[in-house]
């Protein structure tokens, strides 16, 4: 199964390089084997496939020298754990990945079959090739090369590969609480993210948190005739619009009292990292059919998206929404509103502040109910963190350019979970740019990134060995 990497990456200086070159064909075969297992966690008919993928991983981990390999039950799909503890005085890194994948459909949009992996044009095509089986194979290959050449690792490593990441990791937190020793260490490397764009290496250092509420307002028992009642009673739709409008000022800043109190402001280094991103605004807008960017004054678009909190209406409804005209004053109106949050905003506190602001903006005669529909913590690895610096150095040594530092607008709940639950620094060391089509038809992985990724992981573990 030959392949031609599309990106230049720099090989290792030591004997691991020769080992990796020698095992390249076998590696591709293992990678393909893994991808052939349709371990779709969301579909009950694939439960056995998920278990098969876990068992495949356990066999492979044992083959390449991992210890205490276990397929650990969770109540859902199992978690595969393993470790290689070489010296308790060395740093211990917890490596996270997931063996479950998104469903293959819509099948008609795939150029190949999602669970029949194939190498084409320097890429591995198939569901899970990028998200996240390919990245697990990167770690396994690094382990195999190190053990196969040095007989040991430069640091202690604990592997934790779950099978429910595409199903909201519903059993992970409870499993971690029940198995603290299997996930304790000095830092966490999550390889489930990627490059900012194209093939330039990147480290995701920030993810936003969220709080999500629904507000229901009511002024009368029934819809009212707008002639008989217009101008004499509160209109809940007008009132809700005014309440929502009151949550921003003219500069796009959120006016909820206390909202920014806990925000860790962007440092000059943070802003330099944002400015370094090769962000093409025209392309970004064209991709969604939009004509202008917008938002909080004083920040660039990438800063607003990745480094600043937001408040968005996700849905709004009330009154007559059919064709034509109906002259009513709605009895009630509703909105779903969510805030993307940044470190160190507390989602629950923000939710309460938002509710208070909405109530304060409501006119007399309007009955207001607010319910919280979900919270999630923000995640941030500060620039300058030694594990982050070690990873950055490994990426630069491998790919020839320093990595971009990305703060994503969305959330990867496990990142915040690891940071909050374990109290450890978390490094998001991933190798999949957006054009890998994770979650979409024709998912693939650039094999240059894949091979470079193995070298970068080895270099990162070597660099971590020099910390503290």
């Amino acid at each position: 199964m030959p392949y031609a990497p599309t990106l230049a990456w720099k090989g290792l200086e030591g004997p691991e390089e020769a080992h990796l070159v020698a095992t390249a064909t076998q590696r591709m075969a293992k990678y393909s084997e893994f991808l052939r297992i349709p371990s779709v966690s969301a579909l009950p008919e694939h439960a056995a496939d998920c278990r098969a993928a876990a068992e495949w991983l356990a066999v492979e981990l044992r083959r390449i020298g991992a210890e205490r390999v276990e397929v650990s039950e969770t109540g859902g799909h199992p978690i595969v754990v393993a470790e290689k503890i070489v010296d308790p005085s060395l740093p211990t890194v917890v490596v996270y990945g997931h063996y479950d994948v998104q469903p293959g459909d819509p099948l008609d949009l795939w150029k190949t079959s999602p669970f029949e992996p194939i190498v084409r044009d320097g890429r591995m095509l198939g569901r899970g090739s990028a998200d996240d089986k390919g990245q697990i194979v990167i770690h396994l290959s690094a382990l195999e090369a190190l053990v196969g050449t040095r007989g040991t690792l430069p640091v202690n490593v604990k592997y934790l590969f779950e099978g429910e990441e595409e199903s909201s990791s519903i059993n992970l937190e409870a499993w971690m609480a029940a198995n603290p020793e299997r996930c304790s260490g000095d830092a966490v490397i999550i390889s489930d993210s990627g490059f900012f764009d194209g093939n330039r290496p990147a480290l995701t250092v920030g993810l936003r948190g969220i709080t999500y509420i629904q507000v229901d307002v009511r002024a009368s028992d029934v819809d009212l005739h707008s002639g008989s009642y217009g101008g004499s009673v509160v209109n809940p739709a007008n009132a809700l619009a005014a309440m929502i409008a009151s949550l921003h000022d003219a500069n796009g800043r959120i006016t909820v009292p206390g909202f920014y109190d806990d925000v860790v402001e962007l440092t000059p280094a943070d802003r330099a990292a944002f400015a370094a991103l090769p962000f093409d605004e025209a392309n970004y807008l064209a991709g969604i059919g939009a004509s202008a960017t917008a938002g909080e004054s004083g920040f660039s678009t990438v800063e607003r998206r990745g480094g600043r909190p937001t408040l968005d209406v996700n849905g709004i409804w009330g009154g007559f929404t059919g064709d034509g005209s109906k002259t009513i004053i709605p009895a009630h109106a509703h909105a779903k509103i969510s805030c993307r949050l940044v470190t160190a905003q507390d989602p629950e506190k923000i939710s309460r502040q938002l509710e208070a602001a909405l109530r304060a903006a409501a006119p007399a005669g309007l009955h207001v109910e607010v319910q919280n529909l979900g919270n999630g913590d923000a995640f941030l690895t500060p620039l300058g963190d030694p594990y982050l610096t070690a990873a950055a150095g490994a990426l630069e040594a491998t790919f020839g350019v320093p990595p971009l530092y990305i703060r994503e607008g969305g959330s990867i709940p496990i990142a915040a979970l690891f940071q909050k639950r374990l109290g450890l620094p978390v490094v998001l060391l991933g190798f999949t740019p957006p054009d890998d089509n994770a979650h979409a038809p024709n998912e693939s992985m650039d094999l240059g990134n894949f091979e470079g990724g193995i070298r970068a992981v080895i270099r990162a573990l070597d660099a971590i060995a020099t910390i503290g």
Copy 2:
């Protein structure tokens, strides 16, 4: 068919009173005959009944001495016209009523059968007893008594009874344009409205106009992930809320530029008339389950409802409105907005001003479309109008108290149509309070109001004879 009027009213001083007393039983029989015809204009299966009601009216008008009686085709249900021109130098009054009625259903909520009229407890029960056949019979009875005693009328009268009022009078305007001579005169009396509450006489002097628009806003081609795009592009739902909120100030005044330019402000006499209305705010709120009135500062609730323009959202929608949370920025959002208008606001002009205000309030990057869904003119008969004064004097002489002057929040399109099309003063001289249940089950007419109404019409015609 005996009956006992429930309200004291003052009989006429002349021989007409004895004539009316002598013909009371016959009058009830005719009234019942008319009500038995199920002339439901909205239901095609009742087309023949509508024609039968028109023919019944024509026969009756001829019997009691009207001239040039004609069942005039409209393309829909016919219009019945007649006249009694006694002296071209005297004022000519156009009397309007309608012989069509609302459907009888829901039949299970009627205590009697809607088209089997019956007198009970001093009221005539049956569909059309109040709206509007009873009021037509009042005019016919006045004509019969005057011709039967004096052999003539004190003024010229043209009768115009249409058959499509409950179907939006769809053919009336075209018919009026084609038959100008049959509806020309010095003033119009519309008897299709009524008392404010209970049995106290009232004159409706104002009705609000309306303009109704839909605004559609869009910022992208598809719903966007609120993590990846939150804070970086316009959110159409937030923007629409802000645009709507911008249309009112903190005092409940509408901020649309030019909105109040053409408003005829309330005079001290207008405000005195509003203050005289027996309005029970607690009862009004309790009836709709509301806890407070609201609206434009500086005006009472009845003033705001009847004498001031408004701007209400009738419906709003956009984004995710299902159960639970979905983290999207909607691609588009929508609202239906209508304004109730007062004299002399031009609905089309207000519609354009509203559109301009919405566009001015829209942020860059938001695509805004506005469509007009309907306009209707306001109606106002100024206090002090001589025809209004004549009617008021007739009501006071008959019922013993001066009438209330009502400005309704809703619309009676024909009133504005007569005022605009004919350029004549219009007097809404009606005898049906809300508890007559027009449009509802168990419609009825208080026979005290009915008999008093005949006397009031005779007195009004006598008073009009002295004008100018």
